[in-house]
Amino acid sequence: MLVSVLVFVFASLVTLGAAVAVVTNKNILHSAFYLILAFVGVAAIYVMLEAPFIAMVQVLVYIGAIAILIVFAIMLTRRLMSKDMDQKNAQWIPSALGSLTLFVVLGWIVYTAGWPAQEGAMPAEPISQLGQDLLTTYLVPFEIASVLLLAALVGAILIGRERETRSAE
């Protein structure tokens, strides 16, 4: 019990510390690397909650795809690299207000939610259970999500193609 508390405290501290570092760091690529550390901490907390599937998806999607995309995008724009960036731009007041509102709303939800936990043991094969549920009970949201992703893919190809057709004219 003590060990799991220690691990939880460590993972939370790493996550929060890395998250603070993301915001306060002047070098934007350092921020990206700290963001990855924060994702790792969140994945560790998922593992502690006995949700290994979510933890693995967290690592796969957030670190394997999104974080690497961010780092790559920063590396391609030379102006942003290895220079101490100004941390403010013209829109910092509205965005600060938006973030503050989001923080207050989320904090309120976390504080007021009762966190109902279902009694009973975990299913023997949690992932097959998840798959069954996704394709029976939650079929419509699942399909809507896939259509959304497909639309994003098609949109990406369209944006990528636009310049080609214009130059051909």
Binding site: F33, M75, L76
Partner: protein, 399 residues
């Protein structure tokens, strides 16, 4: 004798419990011991592999390979290890110290972490997690990250170029790799590696899903980043790519990680398509299963070496074309076909050998049809053709 590993495990457990250690402590110590053992075996294998690789490269390229240190040069790797440990660490000016030093460790860790979930024999399994396949794919992401960090932190244009190429290649080849990995998961109805291996006794998935096995082999060869997919460290273009600025053991870690990655791919192909620990008498004597597992992995390793020592480097546009226009469509068609065929035959309730035969036929048909279609299609971008130029033009006559 038959179950040597569990025998030793039981002995140590009883010994520790007899000394008054608590059960949790015993379990923790045993798990730590097991992980250290797996890692040490990995490193010992790499030392042997480096020698085998050089000897094999020598044979294939019609030269001797190492032949000075010891009989057949078997001590060459040890000499290299001593040399690399005594070398100076050079950190280039303007490098990001933190990221520069973390990158080699991360590269190594991302490969070693994959070994945590392997089933070595019927009752010798690492962490037997429900999400084994997903874990393997997720952990590999750190390898890409390590290459990016190394390339960026070196403060070197060549290193950065190598790292950018690696992202284009590794991320795009992850798609056919993951989709072809779905085929064994689909056939075994589980993401647990031990279940996947058990489902393959005695019909290996190489027979049930040969197309997926081939796609997996090609795309994971690209993931290793060695020839013919070694664009990220193309010597003639980029010095040494992302690890140009590394020296001493820091370079050594990238080097060992690369070798170990190739062996790990061999082990993964063994698990997913070659029946893992399966083999004659492996059920009764688990120690044989461990030997079969490592032996099969080594065979796949040799096949990969053979391919990569025979082929020249692939051009970058051809590399992307192969992935996006051939491997990804074929792997998706293959996944759908295997799913449908598997379901239909489950309803028909055929004998196992007929099931395997039909699956094999379906796979081979998809492979041949896609190869035929790929052969018929024209390349989208024709390469510009220049008129032949005389080798030497006398001065003053140039147009």
């Amino acid at each position: 004798m038959a179950d040597l590993i569990n025998l030793i495990e039981g002995w140590i457990t009883n010994l520790l419990l007899g000394w008054g250690a608590s059960e949790e402590l015993t379990l923790f110590l045993l798990q730590a011991l097991g992980s250290v053992l797996v890692v040490i075996i990995c490193f010992l294998i790499v030392i042997a592999l480096i020698w085998v690789e050089r000897k094999l490269a020598g044979r294939i390229q019609d030269r001797f390979g190492p032949n000075r240190a010891g009989p057949f040069g078997i001590f060459q790797s040890f000499a290299d290890i001593i040399k690399i440990f005594t070398k100076e660490y050079v950190t280039p000016k303007g490098a990001e110290k933190g990221a520069f030093n973390i990158a080699p460790v991360l590269a190594m860790a991302s490969v070693l972490a994959i070994w945590a979930v392997f089933p070595f024999a019927i009752n010798v399994i690492g962490a037997d997690v429900h999400v084994g396949v997903l874990y393997i794919v997720a952990v590999s992401a750190f390898g890409i990250l390590a290459i990016l960090m190394a390339g960026w932190s070196s403060n070197n244009r060549y290193a950065l170029l190598g790292a950018s190429r690696s992202v284009a290649m590794l991320i795009s080849y992850e798609i056919p790799m993951v989709v072809s990995l779905l085929v064994p998961v689909l056939l075994a109805h589980s993401m647990k590696l031990s279940v996947i291996v058990k489902a393959q006794q005695p019909w290996w998935y190489l027979l049930v899903a040969p197309t997926a096995a081939l796609i997996y082999l090609i795309s994971s060869m690209a993931e290793i980043g060695k020839a013919p997919f070694d664009l990220l460290e193309a010597e003639s273009e980029l010095v040494a790519g992302y690890h140009t600025e590394y020296s001493g053991m820091k370079f050594g870690m990238f080097y060992v990680a690369e070798f170990l990655h190739q062996f790990t791919v061999g082990a993964l192909i063994t698990i997913f398509f070659l029946g893992g620990w399966g083999g004659p008498l492996a059920m009764r004597w688990p120690i044989l299963g461990v030997i079969y597992f490592y032996g099969k992995s080594f065979l796949v390793y040799l096949v990969i070496s053979w391919i990569r020592l025979s082929l020249p480097r692939i051009r970058i546009d051809a590399m992307l074309d192969l992935n996006w226009k051939f491997l990804i469509p074929v792997s998706f068609v293959n996944l759908v076909a295997v799913a449908v065929a598997d379901r239909v035959m489950l309803e028909l309730d055929l004998a196992t050998w007929m099931y395997v035969g039909v699956m094999f036929a379906v796979n081979i048909f998809i492979l041949l049809a896609s190869l035929f279609l790929a052969g018929k299609s024209k390349p989208v971008v024709e390469r510009e053709k220049f008129p032949p130029r005389p080798v030497a033009v006398p001065p003053g006559t140039e147009s």
